[in-house]
């Protein structure tokens, strides 16, 4: 019963919040509603018994990602409402509606099957965090490590791209080649 109430409440709220995210002209509103929506999604996770995921959702999304976005927003000075020449809403709603229709139809299909045996079954007695931990560090250790590399890549990327060195473009600067030649000449001397 609680589950039902929570589900419908969360559903309605997320839909509304994400619609605001998508429709709002104000970055701040959009971002705030996005953050709130994500919190609510973690609520879904809790309902579904994926507590660990819910926590990660809160930490990573609401914590890290939204923080990043806020910083970015400040950097881009995007607090004021933004003038966008949005794509004609007819097309947007048509496409969005269509995709919603098709996806809903698809998911309305009897996807669920009783016959499917869980490959990595949950153990309600042990708790979600332990379950996740065991699977993550056995079966999904490799993706986990690769994800680490991915994060490293993202970090390096962020550092480089936002770094000062990017301010002077060697790609278009012909003088750097001169410098090099001069240095070579110096060495020769």
């Amino acid at each position: 019963m609680y589950e039902q109430i929570a589900f419908y409440l969360f559903s309605m709220l997320t839909v509304i919040l994400f619609l605001i995210t998508v429709m709002s002209k104000n970055v701040l509103y959009a971002m705030t509603s996005l953050a709130s929506g994500m919190v609510l999604i973690s609520g879904f996770f809790f309902i579904l018994g994926a507590e660990f995921l819910g926590v990660v959702q809160l930490i990573v999304y609401v914590g890290a990602v939204m923080a990043l976005y806020s910083f970015a927003m400040m950097f881009f000075d995007a607090t004021r409402s933004i003038k966008e020449k949005n794509t004609s809403s007819a097309l947007v709603f048509l496409l969005g509606g269509m995709s919603a229709l098709v996806l809903v139809l698809m998911f309305a299909a009897p996807i669920f099957s009783e016959n499917i045996q869980a490959l990595y079954p949950m153990h309600p007695e042990a708790g979600n965090a332990q379950d996740v931990g065991i699977v993550l560090f056995t079966k999904y250790l490799i993706p986990f490590e690769v994800a680490a590399v991915m994060l490293l890549v993202a970090m390096i990327a962020g550092i480089i791209l936002a770094g000062k060195k990017m301010d002077r473009s060697l790609t278009q600067d012909m003088s750097v080649d001169m410098e090099k030649e001069i240095m070579i000449q110096k060495d020769a001397k």
Binding site: S113, L119, Q130, P143, V153, I156, A157, I160, M166, L170
Partner: protein, 496 residues
């Protein structure tokens, strides 16, 4: 409390990880070297990268086919070995293009090479797994690195390219994730061999077709983006144009090989299961892609952009072979890209040596056709070599791409798709026009502007690379046999 899990080290089959591990560790080493001593020359890093990749290549060679490792996440079958070899070989061939006589922004970063190696590792993971999670993670690792590498060229075009590529990539990721979710919902698994098993038993359940088709379509949208298939190709020309020539050339080959492996595993599975619909859709997309790519390439003013469209068209060719789902068809994918790689390496290297820091011929383009006008008078060997590459791309025998084309067409004919082979043939004829256009400019027109700028960026290492590409392009006839027999053996051994 749960039982602690005991796993023996042998069962993990760690060797399957070794090649990627080398690349990742290599990337880390480069980062460390930079920490210890700054301002080392790019040549060092290029050579280090090559060395690391060579070791990587060697390790891939040493892998045994049809093994699984690490809780079955890693899949080392013939396809993954072949594709990894191609990925690594492609990387080895393209990275020395950094050794130009002029300095370009990205090569001044040691991180460039680290990212490059991580990217290679990412592609290798894509190729060496049938787990949708690892595929996605590998894909993202590689893609994120690639976006960065593009942006690091550091001029407004490359940012634009990176943004376009990135944003569309993010959308594609969403499609991929949604598709995987549907697959997961259908089968309770994201490991393709499990998926195939479960799906085959569920295939006859009523009302499920829509979900099966839907899952395939969502995954197809995501991979079609990577493979630059119509109508998901729109990024390709802009990104090629914005990226530096070596990277553009690289993008036209290596990521596509990785994406083809994934497509092969996913759509091969669908077709194998008897979902003919997927084959039809892929064929339609393939025909549209090769045709539209071609006719758009006809009207380009920039050689690099033209090559971008042409590589779209080539991808259309190959994806048609994929849809055939025969051993020959699958072999032809790799054969085609192996042969295409050499030619494209040469073509993009030629663009790269002619790269000038300023756009002296056109405001919008680095490599307008006019730049190559009368190249025969300025740089006869260069013109001849470039013409060879163009003819090869056009599919004139005996140059390398011809053998790829003919094998693809043979595969189509063997699978009973003669009309497809004819469409391919006619498309090749259309394609010949824009390749010829460059040849015409080089051989039959008078130079437009001063002479020196055309090979502004030339250096000895690049000459070696171009020489290699030329030899590989011209002499294809002599190594096609071993390639075919090896690829065919590996691919049939892995059951495709």
């Amino acid at each position: 409390m749960l039982e602690p899990i005991k796993v023996s080290l042998e069962s993990l089959n760690l060797i399957t990880l070794a090649p990627m591990l080398i690349a990742i560790v290599g990337g880390l080493i480069i980062l460390c070297i930079d920490l210890f001593k700054e301002n080392l020359d790019k040549s060092l890093y290029v050579m280090l990268t090559i060395l690391i990749l060579v070791v990587d290549f060697g390790l891939v060679m040493g892998l045994n086919a049809n093994e699984r490792g690490f809780f079955d996440v890693m899949l080392i079958d013939g396809v993954s070995i072949v594709s990894q070899l191609l990925i690594v070989a492609g990387s080895i061939l393209f990275i020395p293009l950094g050794l130009t006589s002029k300095r370009f922004h990205e090569y001044e970063y040691p991180e460039f090479f680290a990212l490059f190696l991580f990217m290679v590792a990412g592609f290798q993971f894509m190729a060496a797994s049938d787990n949708l999670i690892l595929i996605l993670v590998g894909l993202e690792t590689a893609s994120l690195a690639l976006y960065t590498l593009i942006a690091m060229h550091n001029r407004s075009d490359s940012y634009e390219a990176a943004v376009k590529y990135f944003t569309m990539g993010a959308l594609a990721t969403a499609f991929y994730a949604m598709g995987s979710a549907v697959v997961y919902g259908l089968t309770g698994s994201v490991e393709l061999y499990q998926v195939a098993q479960t799906l085959s038993s569920r295939l006859n359940e009523p009302g499920l077709m829509i979900a099966i088709f839907g899952s395939s379509v969502l995954l197809l949208s995501a991979l079609a983006f990577k493979l630059s298939l119509f109508p998901f190709h729109t990024w390709a020309p802009d990104v090629y144009q914005g990226a530096s020539a070596p990277l553009a050339g690289y993008m036209s080959v290596v990521p596509k090989i990785a994406a083809f492996v994934v497509s092969l595993r996913i759509f091969g599975m669908y077709i194998e299961l008897g979902v003919e619909w997927v084959r039809v859709i892929i064929l339609i997309i393939a025909v549209l892609t090769m045709t539209l790519g071609n006719i758009m390439a006809l009207v380009q003013e920039d050689v690099k952009r033209m090559l971008a469209y042409s590589s779209i068209s080539h991808a259309g060719f190959v994806v048609a072979a994929l849809a055939l789902d025969t051993t020959e068809g699958n072999t032809s994918i790799f054969l085609y890209y192996a042969l295409f790689m050499f030619t494209n390496l040469g073509a993009f290297a030629m663009l790269w040596i002619s790269r000038h820091k300023q756009r002296r011929f056109d405001d919008r383009f680095d490599n307008p056709y006019e730049k190559f006008a009368g190249l025969i008078n300025i740089m006869p060997m260069g013109a001849v070599i470039m013409a060879l590459f163009m003819l090869s791309l056009a599919g004139v025998p005996p140059f390398s791409v011809f053998w790829g084309k003919i094998y693809v067409m043979q595969a189509a004919v063997n699978a009973g798709y003669v009309w497809l082979a004819i469409v391919m043939g006619l498309n090749s004829a259309i394609a010949a026009y824009y390749y010829l256009k460059l040849v015409v400019y080089m051989f039959l027109k008078e130079p437009v502007k001063s002479v020196d700028v055309v090979y502004y960026n030339l250096s000895k290492p690049l000459m070696v690379i171009i020489g290699f590409a030329t030899v590989a392009t011209v002499g294809a006839i002599f190594y096609v046999q071993p390639l075919i027999s090896y690829f065919y053996y590996m691919i049939s051994a892995s059951g495709y």
